[in-house]
Amino acid sequence: MTAATFTDKPAVSVPSYLMEEGSTLRSWLLTHDHKRIAILYTISITLFFFVGGAAATLIRLNLVTPQGIFEPGTYNRLFSIHGIVMVWFFLIPSIPNTLGNFLLPLMIGAKDLAFPRINLFSWYLFVAAGLLALFAVIAGGVDTGWTFYTPFSTMYSNSYVILAISAVFVSGFSSILTGLNFIVTVHKMRAPGMTWYRLPIFVWSNYSTAIIMVLATPILAITLALLAAERLLRVGIFDPALGGDPLLFQHLFWFYSHPAVYIMILPGFGVISEVIPCFSRKPIFGYKFVAWASVSFTAVSFLVWAHHMFVSGMSLYAGLVFSLLSYVIAVPSAIKVFNWTATLHKGWISFNAPMLYALGFIGLFTTGGLSGLFTANLAADVHVTDTYFVVAHFHYIMVGGMVSAYFAGLHFWWPKITGRLYHEWWARVAALLIFFGFNLTFFPQFILGYLGMERRYYAYPPEFQFWNVLSSAGASILALGYVLPLFYLSWSLVKGQRAGANPWAATGLEWRTSSPPPKHNFDVTPVVTRPPYQYRPEPEPQDA
């Protein structure tokens, strides 16, 4: 992309970020290097992914039989742990804090994020929050679900609500600091010539995510603080028995938690927008539309929260407005999906593992998105509210979408991050297992929900057993698909072939430095002269 200004150097000419500060534990725990902090985050969220995954496994195990295996209270704690851990300790930080942290400065030609110390501090906050969460789990768990709805969470629950919300509260500040860092970095740290329209879409996506982190998370923090005060002091801010309003809690909670859904998908869009052009050898179709679609997601995400509350006793007119606005979200989603598909059109496509994940992402995200239209529709939502239809819908977006995108990105940038190539054959097997396992797990849940099976119950009527067994069978395939990368990726760290600076022949500044990159990313600050995604050879237009 900026070939004229500097040359490709051999990968070993300068010590990499893995070597330069030494390899002691201390050098890692006190590092200010965005790349090392990204690795710290990756290790932490991998741990939480398997904690949340273990809870999910037990949930699916319980639902194999209609009467359930666990005590009802245990089951409530299992799905609460699954939700809290997966949302706040895996999905929210998944791509921004790992790949985003690693790549954002590289992609814009900067030496580091704007505030390296704040970046490290944000990781420590995350760890503190994570320990609180794990402590809450070990102490006996929490049974409110990840939404902490009042007055159950404040007046009736006998579980460790205060511990759990403290964990979420602290992790929120970690999220805010990361968002702040990203916004300032993108505004102020771009290399010479790196104009806004030369930014890779990954940067646009993470920038849009960062805005949500900064503007939505404080609302969650203060809401949880009010909740904690109500639980401790027995004051009725959200309890109707004492004059409070539980709807207010739901409004405040979803004012954060709906935009947070876009924290959990926008960075995924960014990854897909990098992978698809690279493995189609074509520039992304409609760059400006894809870029502005990310920003419009951010804007609209703040205006749709109450579609979570259509049956909560909100006014019908509010419901109408929020239903309409929720449909608006489909527009930028469709722009993205159509533009990725158009990028594929007449591309020179290769099916490496990142591309398999990316293609899987498009299918799963589209299914999730389209089922979202059902739930955005007032009348249809009344039928599917609080059923497995909704569970399937958001898992298609968050797990089918975001986790696939995370794996796509992890494989795509693995050679850059570690300097090693992963085992392509195993990676493809895992990608296919995840795709098929995912569909087998969650598609039956659409059917179950439509038939009327309610979510959150430990038991269900026997006629739903067939679909539940199918779903649990799919979950075991999915689990295998998720465990596989842990093995072959770890193996590649030791035995993997060494990667060159640019194994995918990709564009983007991050591929212009060695793999793994040196501590300050570039020997010479790059000067950018061209737009991104200049893939060559580009197929000649055939029918112009």
Partner: protein, 213 residues
């Protein structure tokens, strides 16, 4: 006077100063939303219980509140003056004005403490000793719950502000800043103005609305 080099991720001192100032503005945007959640709750309950909130407002200590408003506004003036002198590189003058600002902050907190004490005496602290008979008791309790949350979080911000301002005063006295390098003073000023601005919203909501009619 010693040379100040930019941190290693920056190309120049100008970039570093620019980044720091922008970072503070983004941080303040987060802060606005942080108070916004509580102000929304206040607005909702004032809408639901207008009479209860009016009655609660009449129990607030308007004299202390007003004096505190004057103090905070004056402290905003002294810190703005400090930033102005920092632009000219008058280190000692900056230190004195920052010291005065921190003192104003302490007086504000002291008066706030007196106010809390009186409210404790009148059994107006929800969850701990709240007692009020009459039709609006519950609404008054809601008001006072939000009052303690809002002023408590604001007081926390004032405390952090005082520490920041005091640290800057000491650094300025020791000559850490020059007319080319005074970003920390400017940022501390921004933060202090924000804390002041929050109070300008709180003052009428707490002390005036119940007395308006």
């Amino acid at each position: 006077m010693h040379e100040v080099a930019p941190e290693e991720q920056f190309a120049s001192m100008e970039q570093q100063a620019d980044v720091a100032a922008f970072g503070m503005w983004v941080f303040l945007a987060t802060e606005v939303l942080f108070f916004g959640g509580m102000l929304l709750a206040y607005a909702v309950y004032r809408g639901s219980f207008p009479e209860g909130f009016a009655e609660a407002g009449r129990h607030t200590k308007i004299v202390i509140g007003t004096v505190n408003t004057v103090i905070l506004l004056t402290s905003s003036f002294t810190i703005a003056w400090a930033v102005h002198l920092a632009e000219k590189g008058w280190g000692r003058g900056v230190a004195v004005l920052l010291g005065v600002t921190a003192l104003f902050g302490l007086v504000f907190l002291g008066l706030k403490g007196v106010e809390y004490y009186q409210e404790w005496d009148e059994h107006l602290v929800p969850g701990l000793n709240f007692q009020m008979e009459g039709p609006h008791g519950q609404a008054v309790q809601l008001f006072y719950f939000l009052y303690f949350m809002l002023t408590g979080v604001h007081g926390l911000h004032v405390t952090i502000g005082i520490v920041l301002v005091a640290v800057m005063a000491v650094r300025a006295w020791k000559g850490a800043f020059t007319k080319d390098y005074y970003t920390p003073i400017e940022l501390t000023g921004l933060y202090w103005h924000f804390v002041d601005l929050v109070w300008i919203f709180l003052y009428p909501l707490i002390y005036l609305v119940g007395r308006s009619g």
